[in-house]
């Protein structure tokens, strides 16, 4: 009997060992992930101990903060945090940053384990989900008590962070959709781009550029759905409405048709080009990166706060211009977007101190002199005016664009994305792909988005 138990036990050990070796690759990633979570858990643990000392002496305090973005952003953020540390002795920060997609995966796992950082960067696409599950702190009390001073902020800007009755996120910068283009190339070939161009005018430019120079066009391929939303807005529709797909099949089909036209006429960047790139990385954007005009684009659909990183990534001698995304109805399509939100997580031991940091971010001129609008134009009008002089020519171009081009002709932003939106985005990517590889007609793609998309959203309500 004993022998048999031993045999079974040995077999179990062996089985565990087998899966252990064989899952080599998978476990590698999990272990690194685990490491991250334990690291976070440790820092949380540290938080707890420091919490005790804070209560006793009112001094040492460590706050954790996470965000996504580029190296430039990380450097600036770190510098601003150091400034805060020097102004508030005893406060130290544990800052962590990740690239966009990884950020949300990690945030979800840390939310499940209740080990979220004190201050987290939030986005419109996810905020609903986090609020629904009670993961964020209502900041209204801190605004009422004056910890967060929003007196210099346009009230409509802060509406973005309002979900239901609470204020769950403070917007820390405003931006808007912006079409970056290769000004040098267009000037050389005397092709003119004007603000608020219509769809037909835009397509005409795409054709001209392709004909004259061989450069193609990238219609925000597989990189977010803001361009689709922007296009649908010109018809007075939106991607989502009332937890459903909010646009008509006909208009969605006409959106996918743009890709079909591009492929058939040859001016659309071939989808195979993107198989080799990290999509969404400004440095690898076909506007600034490529070996040949056939895999480069004369323009890029981005948001205005990316101007600096695109300009930095541009090869020497390439001047980058900024204009609006094309639309047949500029007022309906254009919008001001809070480029970044800061939220305080329910896992925070020190929500008030976290709120103080957000106030600093919003109202401190010195802090924003470091950041210089990297997350968008500062929301406080006082701060925005004060830092204008310190801004580079590129940053000033962005401010001018926001103030003089978009602000006069724009409407309210589409509401926060419903639960399940990320899965719908993935569906849109797959459909774009199929249309570009000519495996699907735009009409079928639209039909698929209506049925599959609504099914996904329904299952998530």
């Amino acid at each position: 009997m004993k022998k048999r138990v031993l045999a079974i036990f040995m077999a179990l050990v062996l089985a565990a060992g087998l899966t252990g070796c064989s899952s080599n690759n998978a476990s590698e990633t999990t272990s690194s992930k685990q490491e991250e979570t334990t690291k976070q858990a440790q820092s949380e643990g540290k938080d707890e101990t420091t919490a005790v000392t804070t209560a006793a002496s009112g001094e040492a305090l460590e706050l954790s903060i996470t965000w996504w973005g580029s190296q430039t952003r990380a450097d600036l953020t770190q510098e601003a945090l150091t400034l805060y540390e020097s102004l508030n002795p005893g406060v130290t920060f544990d800052g962590q940053f990740l690239s966009g997609a990884d950020y949300w995966n990690k945030l979800a796992t840390s939310a499940a384990g209740h080990t979220m950082a004190d201050v987290i960067q939030m986005d419109k696409a996810y905020i609903q989900q986090y609020v629904d599950n009670g993961m964020l702190v209502d900041l209204q009390p801190y605004v009422d008590s004056g910890v967060i001073d929003l007196s210099n902020v346009d009230p409509s800007v802060q509406e973005f962070g309002r979900i239901g009755d609470g204020l769950y996120a403070i917007c820390i910068g405003v931006n808007s959709p912006a079409l970056f283009y290769n000004k040098t190339l267009l000037d050389e070939n005397s092709i003119e781009v004007k603000d608020n161009m219509t769809m037909d005018e835009f397509l005409e430019i795409c054709r001209q550029v392709y004909e004259k120079t061989g450069y193609k066009t990238n219609l925000q391929y597989n990189n977010g759905t803001s361009w689709m939303d922007f296009y649908l807005r010109s018809f007075g529709e939106a991607t989502f409405a009332d937890g459903k797909i909010g646009a008509s099949e006909e208009n969605i089909a006409s959106f996918f048709n743009l890709y079909k036209i591009g492929i058939e006429e040859g001016w659309l960047v071939d989808p195979s080009v993107f198989a080799e790139r990290t999509i969404g990385q400004p440095e690898q954007e076909p506007l600034v990166y490529g070996s040949d005009p056939s895999n480069m684009s004369w323009c890029a659909f981005y948001f205005s706060n990316n101007m600096a990183s695109i300009t930095n990534a541009a090869p020497e001698g390439m001047e980058i211009g900024i204009t609006t995304w094309p639309s047949d109805d500029a007022v309906k399509s254009n919008f001001l977007k809070p480029s970044m939100f800061f939220s305080v997580s329910v896992d925070s031991e020190h929500p008030e101190d976290a709120a103080k940091l957000i106030d600093f971010w919003t109202n401190s001129v010195d802090c924003n002199k470091i950041l210089l609008g990297e997350r968008g134009v500062p929301v406080s009008s006082v701060v925005a005016d004060a830092i204008a002089a310190d801004m580079s020519a590129t940053d000033q171009m962005v401010v001018e664009y926001i103030n003089n081009v978009v602000t006069p002709k724009c409407s309210a932003m589409s509401p926060a994305s419903p639960n399940g939106a990320t899965e719908v985005y993935d569906l849109v990517y797959k459909l774009e792909e199929k249309v570009c590889y000519q495996e699907m007609t735009p009409e079928d793609a639209a039909k698929e988005l209506m049925t599959q998309g609504n099914k996904i959203l329904e299952s998530k309500q």
């Binding site: 070796c21 995966n105 796992t109 989900q129 899965e423 998530k460």
Partner: protein, 302 residues
């Protein structure tokens, strides 16, 4: 009191107690990091669990959805099967060929063995995956090599749905090192008297290989096949870093789709259900391999 103390002492001095104590770290670790998480994942697979909120029990709905509605699920299964069934035999063949070459003892053999083993250590890493991605880019080394031998190739190997999976398979085949080492040690155990006897009988090299080497290697081939098959089905990094399933899900591995469902779409319950289906598939394949064992594996002595 004293009596119970001696009883305790006696108990502690028993052989079995020592065994239990020494095995305890493993037992605790195994329970905490294998049994408990597996139990949790089994429970989640019957739940609607959005990772942020609390799990809600929904019975076998996840499984029903998987088998009746989810086309991507079937797509990822077929991709994974294709990948495993093509890459594993290729890798083993390659490993065996290299092992046969490296069997001869020369001064450089040690170096070559180490060099060929290297890919299986570093091959699963993110760095190699990124390197691979550049290697097969439109303006990458592979196309440049083709151009150097006169083929004017500007083909996007990763951008075409028929070739992208082969880039991943090639990466898998390249990591033949660990199978090669196992083959090498097995080859060394084949008694040279068998070869000598056959040579006396007038047998050639090819004949020797198919009549002596291969049959005597079948237990090793079987072992390698089972191990590699399991790792083939669990492949993740290559797809996640190099292709992300593109183009058009033609390279979407099962484990990557499972990851997407769990952490990108926040359908963690569904992801857990997918993990259990994968476990059943792998178990079934391993069982089938074991069933066929007596048909082709030589288990006698030398």
């Amino acid at each position: 009191m004293k009596k119970s103390m001696t009883a305790l002492k006696q108990h502690l001095n028993k052989n079995s107690t020592a065994g239990v104590v020494f095995a305890l770290p493993f037992i605790i670790g195994f329970t905490m990091f294998m049994i408990v998480p597996m139990g949790m994942s089994l429970y989640y697979s019957f739940c609607e669990f959005e990772i942020l909120g609390a799990p809600k029990f929904i019975g076998i709905e996840n499984y029903i959805k998987m088998f009746t509605e989810d086309e991507t699920f079937y797509k990822s299964i077929s991709v994974t099967f294709f990948y495993a069934l093509v890459s594993v035999p290729l890798r083993l063949t390659f490993a065996l060929i290299v092992a046969l070459i490296l069997l001869r003892n020369t001064k450089a053999t040690g170096f070559y063995r180490a060099a060929y083993y290297l890919p299986s250590i570093i091959g699963g890493s993110v760095a190699i995956s990124i390197l691979w991605k550049r290697l097969f880019a439109e303006d990458g080394t592979f196309n440049h090599l083709l151009q150097a031998i006169g083929v004017n190739s500007h083909f996007s190997w990763l951008g075409n749905k028929n070739t992208a999976i082969w880039v991943l398979i090639l990466l898998a085949v390249w990591q033949f090192g660990s199978s090669m080492l196992i083959f090498l040690s097995a080859l060394k155990q084949i008694p040279s008297s068998l070869y000598e006897a056959s040579r006396v009988d007038g047998s050639g090299k090819v004949n020797q290989f198919f009549r002596i080497t291969l049959p005597l290697l079948t237990p090793t081939i079987f072992f390698n096949l089972v191990m590699q098959m399991i790792s083939g089905f669990l492949a993740f990094t290559q797809c996640f870093i190099i292709t992300q399933g593109r183009p058009m899900s033609s390279t979407l591995f099962y484990s990557v789709y499972m990851y997407q469902q769990s952490f990108e779409f926040y359908n963690t319950g569904y992801g857990a259900a997918m993990a259990w289906v994968m476990l059943i598939i792998i178990s079934a394949i391993t069982a089938i391999l074991f069933k066929t064992k007596k048909l082709w594996v030589y288990e006698g002595g030398f």
